[in-house]
Amino acid sequence: MNIADIRAQFPILSEKVHGKPLVFLDSAASAQKPDVVIDAMSQMMRSHYANIHRGLHWMSERATEAYEASRSRVASFLGGAREEIVFTRNSTEAINLVAYSYGSLLKSGQAVLISEMEHHANLVPWQMLRDRVGIELRVAPITDEGDLDLDAYGRLLSDGKVALVAITHMSNVLGTITPAERLVTMAHDAGAKILLDGSQAVVHRKIDVQALGADFYVFTGHKLYGPTGIGVLWARRELLEAMPPFMGGGDMISSVTFEKSIWAPVPAKFEAGTPAIVEAVGLGAAIDWVENIGYEAIGAHEAALTAHALRVLPEVPGFSVVGKPKERGGVISFTMDDVHPHDIATLLDRNGIAVRVGHHCAEPLMHRLGLTATARASFGIYTTEEEIDILAETLRRIRQFFV
């Protein structure tokens, strides 16, 4: 994998910010887009765009083909069947869909089990379900290192009341990669279904939902070098068939009278209204692009970057990495003694470096870690070791400025 070639495919990477070359270390929030994705979307809007599933005309047929081809592409990407792929706006909507729809089949006395390191997207929908249906919401703790506490996870499952586990496959704050196969086995042994939030994980490693054995898997397009506005819910077909619709409207019905409507077969049952057609096509292009580079190469590159970062960054005076998980992806949260993350971010920005600061939509995790905010550097396919060195050097100067 040639990084210079890859970087040349991302037009934004040659932009300057405040007169400095852009050093983009915020890919975990949203990744930049390669030419192939931008071109696939603009090409569609220029040459074969219309609403899908409705028109009997040439344009609509071409657009429908492109949209449905993306569904097949996502299915082969995850290892599921195309009927099991529901397009949503993002991971958040996919989780809300499950919480609303599958959640409506749950009853008071049953429980949903999440973890202490969930993004708000995999926490708030379950709180809402708890308040609506009266289920119990259980939270599996993490260790001080930032790994899921598997003993506690097992104990929380042991009474057989957990109907559904909803847990991240990779933490957006700590970078922790959770032992998904193990979590799935333990959940199934306790009679629970399991949803994995793959928003971060899907960017860094090959996902095979069959090998994982999961029941639900969600991810979002924009972190995978695709556009915003398109996300994916994969679920086992029998689950989708048993679940009531999430939203009502056009496209999700097979017949409607004023008395009654009959739902369309899955996955259309869950896709009410005109979907994100162009974005779905963009996601298909992004997946082609990622798989063309290959997860092996991506994984090796990111592992090298992460190792490099964990070597050079801790040499910055006052620097602390947050969390020390057993297995981690290219996400490093950090703090610096005597310098608030906001001040770090402002000065990094003025030197062309983009990082994320704050609670990263994981307030309960921040609370657990005894922090209110961290700064976070996250890496993508296009990140270089030189960029990490620039980050380290700039952090050194920031620290000198404040102390």
């Binding site: 001040d343 402002t346 000065l347 609670h359 209110t372 920031i398 400025f401």
Partner: protein, 144 residues
């Protein structure tokens, strides 16, 4: 270093050594300002008698801008009438929200130097809230 212009020497100094931290004796009002985006929190304690702000103290957990803003605000409003203190808050917000290309004719005459130190923040839109958070809390404390 680049970008450091928004950290006036006064801001840096007061963020390191706040002079108005703590709480006042005989407190008549208190309020908290929270920024859910970053977790910054300002807790204000003040004593107002006969329509005058007699003393203000703050406990701030936040960035350098927020800490210095709370401290310089406490200094600026002490001894002023409640009406004037609220007006000062409005002028401070106006100064920050005015596009950097425009200069308000009056602001240099009106605003204390300590508050003018924040003027370069105009070009750091994402940080304005750090400076205004203590003032939001003050507004709440004074209008309870």
């Amino acid at each position: 270093m680049d970008g450091s212009s928004c950290y006036d020497a006064l801001i840096l100094f007061r963020s390191r050594r706040p002079e108005f931290s703590g709480s006042v004796e005989g407190e008549t009002a208190t309020a908290q300002g929270n920024n859910p985006v970053c977790g910054d929190r300002v807790t204000l304690s003040l004593r107002a008698t006969d329509g005058t702000v007699a003393a203000v103290r703050h406990q701030t957990r936040g960035c350098a801008i927020c800490m210095a803003s709370a401290d310089l605000m406490a200094e600026a409003v002490t001894g002023h009438s409640v009406t004037d203190a609220l007006e000062l808050g409005r002028q401070f917000a106006d100064m920050l929200e005015t596009p950097s290309s425009q200069t308000m004719v009056t602001e240099e005459d009106v605003l204390p130097v300590g508050l003018q130190a924040f003027r370069p923040l105009r070009t750091h839109r994402s940080r304005l809230r750090c400076a205004t958070l203590p003032w939001t809390a003050l507004g709440e404390a004074l209008t309870q």
